[in-house]
Symmetry: C2
Subunit: 499 residues, 2 copies
């Protein structure tokens, strides 16, 4: 009784949040330029009301009563899982003083604008006082939500429940110990791979048509989702049957939209395949950023950058772009989309160097939050790390410390989930290959049903029911491990570069 009354209230709150997601999607896809001022206010109202409803005494009372009732449900029941999730969120939301919530919202909202301007003007000093303020507020925030935990662990937990630096440190050490020599070996080998064929003039309309085709081939249902255009690609969903992905179309860089679509499609499959019984409940939605990223990376890289995939689809891509690709053999394309090269910009990085970018930020974030590196010294610290990891130094801060939006939005502890997603995508794929022995052959035939069903059964269906670490164990039989991932990278790039 209390349990179902609690659910009714939470469903209303959930619906308000989903309404906010629609407004946000519209703002990033179709909204006319001058609509933004009113839109911010509408989003603020939705956020305010749903927050007030969630932290209200009514919710506290219903939750306490439901918890008393909850003892009668089984250990592994959905009800117990819901109560755990709601209690966690409720305690967090109610522990943060309203003034801190407001200060963070205002500072990061303005901070993002300042960052954008500072980046455009290549002026870190302009952004520095805002970064300083945001770091101070995040320290206070971490102390408020998890008084017993180290600051960085408290922030990690926001995006990846249960994740700590104690778990991450050895993982990132392993990635670094593997990645730096691999990049070195590739450079030493001296095999020149060019990506020039990806920069030829690719008509956006033709790209869009091909991406629609590929999405359908992979199993994306346009009855339950859409593909639209936005400046920054993203995936969002308003219900289990309404998932929106976006991409951007670059005339002179084919991989942008193509792998962007496959990436967001991976996110969308997760949301589309959660058990329908969880719809609009506290267990709706993917459980963490790391698990979510494992799905996007799996489709983007494990499937989408595999040779098998293009054995099937490269002829189709050549038909779509005969002038650009008609005369290029499959291997030229396959090597171009997998070219490894040290680069300054994370979002353009290949599979091998990508994690080195993340590790740099992981180290920087901890140093900034602990005060080991002062904000004014941060650009120099960044550049030193770039030199150490990549052997290159950004010519300007715009291509260095100012490149990512995250810190200006207060997102500390977020970057590591990108690498967790990479690691886990391989760990999951390795198990899937064992259980579906012909998986590579299926990909070669453009048949993805078996893989999708495996992911649905072992990951997607559970929504937020299990903590990320428990879900990993349940799906793969093991705790999170870099083994499969490092093996995958070594094998793939040894083959491509003939190491």
């Amino acid at each position: 009784m209390s349990f179902s009354a609690l659910l009714v209230r939470l469903t209303d709150i959930h619906n308000l949040e989903q309404a906010g997601a629609v407004l946000d999607w519209d703002q990033r896809t179709y909204m006319p330029a001058k609509g933004s001022e009113a839109r911010s206010k509408q989003l603020a109202t939705l956020a305010k009301i749903s927050h007030e409803m969630f932290v209200a005494k009514e919710t506290a009372d219903l939750l306490a009563a439901a918890e008393a009732e909850g003892k009668s449900f089984g250990e592994d029941s959905d009800e117990r899982a819901m109560l755990r999730v709601v209690r966690r969120n409720f305690d967090r939301e109610t522990r943060v003083p309203t003034e801190l919530v407001v200060a963070l919202a205002e500072t990061t909202s303005r901070g993002q604008d300042v960052w954008a301007e500072a980046r455009a003007k290549n002026d870190f000093q302009m952004f520095a006082p805002w970064l300083q303020k945001i770091i101070e507020l995040k320290r206070q925030y971490a102390a408020a939500i998890a008084p017993g935990l180290p600051v960085y662990d408290a922030l990690l937990d926001l995006f990846e429940e249960g994740m700590t630096t104690r778990v991450l440190d050895p993982i990132f050490a392993a990635l670094k110990a593997h990645g730096v020599p691999l990049v070195g070996a590739i450079q030493q080998r001296g095999k020149k791979i060019s990506d020039e064929i990806l920069t030829r003039n690719y008509d956006p309309k033709a790209q869009e048509k091909f991406c629609h085709y590929i999405l359908k081939e992979c199993g994306f249902s346009f009855e339950r989702g859409r593909l639209d255009t936005s400046v920054h690609p993203f995936c969002t969903n308003f219900s289990q049957n309404d998932v929106r992905i976006t991409t951007r179309w670059e005339t002179d860089w084919l991989p942008g939209a193509l792998f962007g679509c496959l990436h967001e499609m991976g996110h969308s499959f997760y949301e589309l395949d959660i058990d329908p019984k969880y719809e609009a409940s506290p267990l709706a939605g993917g459980v963490s950023l790391g698990i979510h990223e494992s799905q996007s990376r799996l489709w983007e890289n494990l499937v989408g950058r595999s040779r098998e995939f293009w054995e099937k689809y490269y002829p189709e891509l050549q038909s779509a772009f005969p002038a650009q690709l008609g005369g290029e053999p499959l291997d030229a394309f396959y090597e171009a989309i997998n070219r490894v090269t040290p680069s300054l910009i994370r979002v353009e990085a290949d599979e091998v160097t990508y994690n080195l970018h993340i590790i740099l930020r992981y180290e920087m974030e901890q140093a900034l939050l602990s005060g080991a590196v002062a904000v004014m010294d941060a650009p120099a610290a960044w550049n030193e790390k770039m030199k150490a990891s990549f052997g290159i130094v950004p010519p300007t801060d715009k291509e260095g410390i100012l490149q990512d939006v995250h810190w200006s939005a207060g997102l500390f502890g977020y970057f590591p989930t990108y690498s967790l997603g990479n690691i886990l995508s391989s760990q999951l794929f390795a198990v899937a290959m064992k259980e579906l022995p012909n998986l590579r052959g299926e990909v070669r035939k453009g048949s993805f049903g078996g893989l999708l069903e495996w992911l649905r059964t072992h990951v997607h269906q559970y929504g937020r029911k299990y903590k990320p670490a428990d879900l990993v164990k349940k799906a793969t039989g093991q705790p999170l491990s870099t083994e499969a991932y490092l093996k995958y990278l070594t094998e793939k790039f040894t083959r491509i570069y003939g190491l």
Copy 2:
């Protein structure tokens, strides 16, 4: 102090409603098919929460305190106008018992589905019990909101504040007394006008391009609005700087999209030009359906179906469709878009016969609500009226009493606003022509700034500040009158048909 506290609360409610408008727009334009179930629930949550916030004791207390404070504001002040508007809505919303609100929402939601099926199957009996139920609920609703008023006046007032059958009866009598003989004279004259040239194969992409061009020419800003595609054309807005219009593209009927765009553009100009100080306040938005329709009709008909307009734009239209229109003279096009012919379907009716369709519904609605016509006898009554007004009888109910969605949605008292809009469009245009003596010449040059500014100054800017009848008087110096409208129809169609 109370006044500003009231405004803060009302702004939150307004923002929730605007969020609902975004969700509704998305549902009708881009939402994937399977998204509708969750979307209904999200919209229901938004409606429930905004309603609860509006009728809450907090609102009542703030309103009472603000009213006490309001006496210090001037008679013509915005504050007094706001208090009047809020009090009117508050009393109405709080007078309706919740059970009746729920019964109406459920019956009309299901009723619309039943109507759609009944229409598809041409089966009035299927819809009859739902219509019966809706009529009963609307009687109860009218008694609840305005205990002293006749049922139909109470319902009219929902869409057109202050409108009554006492005002409407002589107006509609005049329209009928004018329209029936005019149609007769046109038929007797025997001049054959064909609209075949409008049914040639018009590529939707080329239509869309031309409509974008025309919208820009007329002054529609794509920085503050959009044109999208939907099954039923509509105009909605999420703020004063974000107005969305839609149309549908029919390959074999050029006027559908073309005049649909001009019609919705007229609605959009009203919303775009309201004084910015009213943004998100109780005075935001057009004041009534009749005034709104006067703006859409003015642009669709007075401007868009005028010979002057096409003197400027027909060459452009010919360039857009050289195969279809290249060899057709301007007058063939002008006559085709103004062809008068008795027809069964209201939404396809010409300017002369359109009002006769409305009068038929006006009479039927009153007869059904009073019980003078029983639901089971309604189809026969409909057909008799068609015979009397148009000399034709629908072969089936699908083309007769089942053609419009309104009654299934509970919209009784709504149809008259269409004719009010027609009448008022001419009344306003006649005054504008007096004050802007070269208006026709300006239209001939594709210069609409003067007209737009006149409409902004005399109508748009006021939002909901004045009651519709007061606004008409303020803008035209006269009460609502059919004089200009009947003169316009007589002159225009006498010329076209050589009467």
